[in-house]
Symmetry: C2
Amino acid sequence: MNDFVIRGDIAYCPTKEQLIAVEDGFLVVRGGLCELVCTELPQSAQGLPVHDHRGKLVLPGMADLHIHAPQYAYRGLGADMELLDWLEHYAFREEAKYADLSYADRAYTIFADALKNSATTRAVIFGTIHTDATRLLMDKMEESGLVSYVGKVNMDRNSPEALTETTEGSFRETVRLIRETADRYRSTRPIITPRFVPSCTDELLSRLGRLAEKEALPVQSHLSENPGEIAWVKELCPDSRFYGEVYDRSGLFGGSIPTVMAHCVYSSDEEIALMKERGVTVAHCPASNMNVASGIAPIRRYLDLDLRVGLGSDVAGGHTVSLFTAMAEAMQLSRMYWRHLDSTKKPLTFSEALYMATKGGGGFFGKVGSFEPGYECDAVVIDDSTLPHPQELTLLQRVERAVWLGGDRTGLSAKYVRGQKIL
Amino acid sequence: MNDFVIRGDIAYCPTKEQLIAVEDGFLVVRGGLCELVCTELPQSAQGLPVHDHRGKLVLPGMADLHIHAPQYAYRGLGADMELLDWLEHYAFREEAKYADLSYADRAYTIFADALKNSATTRAVIFGTIHTDATRLLMDKMEESGLVSYVGKVNMDRNSPEALTETTEGSFRETVRLIRETADRYRSTRPIITPRFVPSCTDELLSRLGRLAEKEALPVQSHLSENPGEIAWVKELCPDSRFYGEVYDRSGLFGGSIPTVMAHCVYSSDEEIALMKERGVTVAHCPASNMNVASGIAPIRRYLDLDLRVGLGSDVAGGHTVSLFTAMAEAMQLSRMYWRHLDSTKKPLTFSEALYMATKGGGGFFGKVGSFEPGYECDAVVIDDSTLPHPQELTLLQRVERAVWLGGDRTGLSAKYVRGQKIL
């Protein structure tokens, strides 16, 4: 059961520097785990069913570490404001609609379908404050076959009325979601989701921190995205030395609690040191960082420091769920960083970008995002034959083209999650 | 003949600030020219055949002011170097292949097909130094139905051997192409194309300037793309005050000769003043500026100064022919410029981006890129129904989404060039 072989043109990154490419190779999968990549099947694997994807690319599934499901409906709209104005004028207005379950049903059906048909196999997702809509979102994600963490958002201050909870209510509803979804899913789990410091009181943060620990749940939030936001946090928490410290003193900043923080564009030296110490994962969201004018995150620095770094689409700060696009944009922004901000910070290579989209982000889910032995088999099969070319191309070149030219329509022709074929 | 009506959801920009959107509107076309956009057909237009595109978007065709046809084959490859290294390792090696007409035939067939199936209706194109391959490219472009200027590239110094012409040979071959293609096409014309100052001697530039004037041909080249390139030009032409002056003293910098210069990322105040005085058109190529790490062009400044500015895909510095993508990237880069380089330079608006892609660039071809009376009717019909959404959208929002989410696959369902339906 769940033992099989994927045949195709296989590529993956076991390290940031190494892109392994095996033409007409075999990926042996046993019990849903990768066992071996090879060009000739060993005796022991010869009886296994072969999924024949010859001529197509086989890549690890991508992990989207930061995406707002309720914002998918207005991706590509209103990218004319910076973060705080944009939240008020677009994000919050749209999110208020999810009090209506029939709207949520329509919107989340579209969202889950889009993720299913992308190269993403794992996602860390923001819902809204609405518990029932978030449970509905979890149902849709479970149906999609992807593995995901889905958060009911917590907001008990500085938010529009329709999205402002009481501290007690926010906490209680979070507990309710955890209770109601326990043992309900195979692939979908809740995640503790304080929106960001400006919209959460210290008391709420503390209670969420204790809850994360008690329930052994991971945490997601936003961090140091924009100078105005950072100044606001300093004003709200004058005794904090840096933004991340506010999460940390509530037990919401890594350590024993797996934590992913989106953006980290302007993290201070102290904040970076604490992220490293606590094993906090950075979700780099280049599209969003451009669209809402946040700025360019110092990803080269994070990679050099061996921080955990993955990619996020950050829909709808980002306009597309495509992590292929996120890879291209991460490379593009790193070039602008090198050119305009710090010429000692070498631009990202293709293999670094692919690593971040796969094994880098996959690490938040365990042994995910590579085809090394023991890794859960998440794989996407890409038909790149729709991208005509007059010359011979190497497999590495085909992978590079598929990423740069694929965008939203990847040529996805099959998809495996934890060794299950879901497409 | 060539009198008809296009019915659909029409949008266009008569000015940078104004985006006109007419739901279920009519665009009356007579003799290939736009006559009127209205919501009710006047008596005089009621007998005309109606092309019914109800429910679809009708936008002006886009003008791609800078694209290298021979580089299309390796778009999306090797974006890991900055300009001068990239030219040597990728661009020049690929361009040398176009000495082989059968390779050129395969590659240019793919290229012309891609442009035909994009939202582009006008293009200003670099070929290679090879006269016969460039004529073949012109044949393909003519077959595509698009209107284009196509240049045989001139290079008589500092180039790899396979791409280095003699001064005399370069000039003579340019004349040959002009002769051989005179009266050969309806929609395709040659354009004088010195590659850039580093690869052209003063003598060659002077002879090309006189040729442009004598033959009343437009000019295209590269300008102030990259600091290393600019330093090289200064070294090669120590008596020049700025890069553009080198073109100018050879009569290759606007005035009576319509001239488009790609990039202008680092143009000095004097250079900008001369571009303004001479009416030189700037081809802004945001993807390329990121991919080969050139930097962010000060487009807000150019717009404020009322310079002529359009967009270029700059394939294969850019990785896609999509001017929808170029619009999005121009907006994104303008946000990074505002954030990191000069906070007095307001980010580009959507209407400014659409203006640049249509009327801004279209101006290089005459009255092109708008649906105002007297404009040549270039139009693209976009089926945006493949982009699902749970909420009501205004027509303006639909246009914005189509651009941000469309990318390479625009949902193009019909295309008109100079009043001819070509798709």
